[in-house]
């Protein structure tokens, strides 16, 4: 065994440190990839627009507009990030995210898929067209759960 000077020990220390940090990032990468594989939905962040969230979760944008009580848009969905919408509606971002998640859950199987375009009058599922500020839909009791559809037909953003 050689007698190492302080410079050599520094290289050994740096090597061990770099191996550990690299391993840490490798583990994080793999964990993230595994999470992605098993959880197709990514978390909703304050920067996301309703259009992006609708695109990411494969629901028609009007469902999210309606859930937040925003006027339906004929063309492109709202480009504003949800933090701005939250500010305008005097809600916290977490409240807006909760409302959106709830609307998404109710647009997916086992619930019937919403149409691509918003209905002219009322809601197709007999639900109120919009939430009042600060209100979220509670969990649906099991007996109200409709039959699952054979094949999920999720709407896509235009």
């Amino acid at each position: 065994m050689k007698n190492l000077g302080w410079r050599q020990w520094l290289v050994v220390l740096a090597f061990v440190l770099v191996v550990c940090v690299t391993g840490l990032f490798a583990v994080r990468t793999v964990r993230r990839a595994i999470y992605w594989h098993y959880h197709q939905d990514e978390p909703i962040r304050p920067w996301m627009s309703l259009g992006y969230i609708a695109h990411s979760y494969s629901v028609p944008p009007w469902v999210l507009h309606q859930a937040l009580g925003l006027p339906p848009r004929a063309g492109k969905p709202d480009r504003r990030p949800i933090r701005e919408i939250a500010r305008e509606q005097h809600r916290s971002v977490d409240q807006v995210i909760a409302i959106l998640k709830d609307a998404i859950v109710h647009s997916r199987p086992p619930y019937p898929p919403p149409p691509d375009a918003p209905p002219d009058e009322g809601s197709p599922r007999g639900q109120p067209p919009a939430f009042t500020p600060g209100q979220t839909r509670g969990p649906i009791p099991p007996q109200q759960t409709p039959e699952p559809t054979q094949e999920p037909m999720r709407g896509r953003s235009p």
């Binding site: 050689k2 190492l4 050599q8 290289v11 050994v12 740096a14 090597f15 770099v18 191996v19 940090v21 690299t22 990032f25 490798a26 994080r28 990468t29 993230r32 990839a33 999470y35 992605w36 990514e42 978390p43 962040r45 304050p46 920067w47 627009s49 259009g51 992006y52 695109h55 990411s56 979760y57 494969s58 492109k76 480009r79 504003r80 990030p81 933090r83 701005e84 971002v93 953003s157």
Partner: protein, 201 residues
């Protein structure tokens, strides 16, 4: 709300000017998860919010311009500083050797640090400027690497347009793994030389 969230929200609302400004600043050296921004821009292109050619052109020009600022500042500002210090320390020979090494290997280093190990990018700009690496060659490698980087990340964002946050986090971690592996190989090589038995002549 984090800085990343704020910048991405600004990108959504204001579009190309924000893309240009943030990439320019980051290319000079400001640390920011810029890959997330490019991936997000790719997603917005897929959704019809932005135009592909505009995103590629604006992002590439901003990245190259930022690199040129970093190179220029260190070449004409840092160069004088290095000369003064090396003269005082009497380390002119060492500096010259380092410069020769940079000139020899910087082509590949500049190119790879533009798109593969982007964390090294601003540092390579500074090193190339201080070593007075020929500007035209620096510009050539820089443009090639940055355009490749922009197309790669925008393409990933376009392909995985509904998973921007997740894919950017994976890419961010992966790029640090690549940086770590490169440094591990370099340090491992040094260790092998330290522990190698003395050559008998």
């Amino acid at each position: 709300m984090s800085v990343t969230d704020q910048v991405l929200a600004a990108l959504l609302v204001y579009g190309l000017p924000v893309l240009f400004g943030v990439i320019l600043i980051c290319s000079v050296g400001f640390p920011f998860p810029i890959s997330l921004m490019l991936v997000a821009a790719g997603s917005f292109v897929e959704q019809g919010e932005m135009k592909l050619w505009e995103v590629i052109a604006v992002a590439s020009v901003a990245a190259v311009l930022g690199d040129q600022i970093g190179y220029g500042l260190s070449r004409w500002g840092g160069r004088r500083l290095i000369n003064r210090i090396s003269r005082k320390l009497g380390a002119e020979t060492n500096i010259q050797q380092a410069e020769a090494l940079t000139k020899r290997w910087s082509g590949a280093g500049i190119f790879l640090s533009r798109w593969l190990v982007t964390a090294f990018g601003p540092w390579v700009n500074v090193a190339s400027g201080i070593a007075a690496y020929p500007w035209r060659r620096f510009l050539l490698w820089d443009v090639l690497g940055e355009v490749l980087w922009v197309i790669l990340y925008v393409g990933i964002g376009y392909t995985f347009s509904n998973r921007v946050q997740t894919i950017a986090e994976i890419l961010g971690n992966l790029s640090w793994v690549i940086v770590g592996l490169i440094v591990t190989v370099i340090l491992g090589w040094k260790l092998m030389r330290i522990f190698a038995p003395e050559a008998t002549t």
